[in-house]
Amino acid sequence: MSFPWAKHYEPQGAFMKYVDSRLPIPRLVYDSLGGGYPVPKNLNYFYNFGVLAGVALVVQIITGIVLGMHYAANTTIAFDSVEHIMRDVNGGWMLRYMHATGASFFFVVVYIHIFRGLFYGSYKPPREVLWLLGLVIFLLMMATAFMGYVLVWGQMSFWGATVITNLFSAIPLVGEAIHTWLLGGFAPDNATLNRFFSLHYLLPFIILGVVILHVWALHIPGSNNPTGIDVKSKADTVPFHPYYTAKDFFGLCVYLTLFSVVVFFLPNMLGEADNYIPANPLSTPAHIVPEWYFWPFYAILRAFTVDFPFGLVPAKLWGVLAMFSAILLLFFLPWLDTSPVRSNSYRPLNRQLFWIFVVDVIILGICGGKPPEEPWLRLSQIASAYYFAHFLIITPLVSRIEKPLPLPNSISEAVLKRHTNTGAPAALQPAGAGLAEFPASGQPAE
């Protein structure tokens, strides 16, 4: 799996030798996160977001478990128990704010992580399975966050649960039965709240399991990199430790600083005031919105307002199908994009289309947070149409007609060229082992 020049783990001392021959966990860590894992040397800060997502998951699990010690999953007292956490439990307000804004931060990190993968073509061979596992994590996260939000049993919790579980009733014939089965009743009630708590507790650990598979799949080919070209020799890589442990640690400090700013100074910035009103099954808030991280998909759901063709398929079913396919499409991306060049740095046309797509998703996000009125409806219809066109028409077409820029011969050549151009002191570095293999570069590698 790893590159042939990876350093080998040497247990130091009798005790480590004893451990290594019985349960070689230190070896596993050394080979996957330590000096024994060679990583492309040109990773930029966008490559910090994988580690950050892992940290965000751990933060959610730790704060969630302690919240679970004070929370009561019963419709008569759930809302009060959350207020009890906020007012009476020692430091409870902080734990809840960490958990609530932690979910938002988790999604920010994961969205950046996904768009990073889109830009650098990380979903392409040999990393398709890695990409698919990432999408599974994304789906599980959405389910987890949705159910967590219901636990508060405020107005938005209740009506969000009503709207989202009703999506399943759009399925022809069996939809109503599935809907009732999911809720354990005809409307969200105690049975619903209880099962959501049970699953909200379980799913993060399933996510953790899939994350392990995700990282395993990553370590087979190793990380992609901003050039998108394969690692060819030792000159292209540096050991994970200390190079990327240091870089990830720096990124983590920045992340935790921003996180603290929001937790301590703006904890309700991303929340909805209506969720501080206890759930009332007889009155819908004037404007129901899910949490911001669902907005792009919510906009696609609402974009369908007429039955077509000829009134045959109800608008509701179209909306639901479109919303789920918007996510499922991502699973097919490795086969829709047939260009052999991974990184958009060398795809002049696709690079611009990538940014248009980013803007399109942002527009969808804005529309999803607005009331279902014009101009937002029309705008979300156009943006939804573009979303699907991007994956189904534009991406396959561009892969065929685009003429990519010339690729560098190796990662290290690309790095050195950049640094020579900008006058960075690349030439001052001592010659390294990989040099002999790169006569073309004419520059000493590090």
Binding site: W159, T162, V163, I164, T165, N166, L167, S169, T180, W181, L182, L183, G184, G185, F186, A187, D189, A191, R195, P281, L282, S283, T284, P285, A286, H287, I288, R302, F304, T305, D307, G311, P314, A315, K316, L317, G319, P371, P372, E373, L377
Partner: protein, 187 residues
């Protein structure tokens, strides 16, 4: 094992099947049936429990509801709207060509004979289940004078029929009977 001839040759039936295959298939089928019997209760426990299913009926007194007014009551955890239509509202509902509707139904089909002014429906939007506005005093009744769902903008007319927006069906009419001119039992 299938390739181990010594073991299996004397085990063949005249048509060339191995006797042992029968045991394999039978064992597999038994295990699958056993697993299914265990999985079913695990799935079925999520269906509504007996207390949730216990059908609740409610009685409703209509005498205090003036023409143009409506009340909202809770039935099986869902809101029910009971509305006393004004003559103008019944006329408006009847004036609509039924064929032009998404879910074609006349006002007569949605009310009881001789009680056309009493429009009793679930207050559950058929799109994704929000409670539409329009039953309460001063609430937005939408462009068609009936109900307006704030969630995704479905508009219902004065017979609570879907006229615009994403909802596929008219507001559902529950089972109910008139016990007296001003008393109904829902459920």
């Amino acid at each position: 094992m299938a390739t181990n001839d010594n073991l299996v040759t004397d085990d063949l039936t005249p048509t060339g099947e191995r006797r042992r295959d029968f045991i394999f298939v039978a064992t597999g089928a038994f295990a699958a049936a056993g697993a299914a019997t265990v999985v079913w209760p695990l799935i079925n426990q999520m269906s509504p429990s007996a207390d949730v299913l216990a059908l609740a009926q409610i009685d409703l007194d209509l005498s205090a509801i003036q023409p143009g007014q409506a009340v909202k009551v809770s039935w099986r955890g869902k809101p029910v709207f009971a509305r006393n239509l004004t003559p103008a509202e019944t006329a408006a509902a009847k004036a609509v060509p039924v064929a032009s509707l998404r879910d074609p139904q006349t006002l007569e089909q949605r009310t009881k004979p001789g009680k056309e002014n009493w429009l009793i429906t679930l207050g559950v939007c058929t799109h994704l289940g929000c409670v539409p506005l329009g039953a309460g005093e001063g609430e937005n009744k939408g462009a068609f004078g009936g109900y307006f769902c704030p969630c995704h903008g479905s508009q219902y007319d004065t017979a609570a029929r879907i006229r615009q927006g994403p909802a596929p069906k008219n507001l559902e009419v529950p089972d109910y009977t008139f016990k007296s001119p001003t008393q109904v039992t829902i459920g």
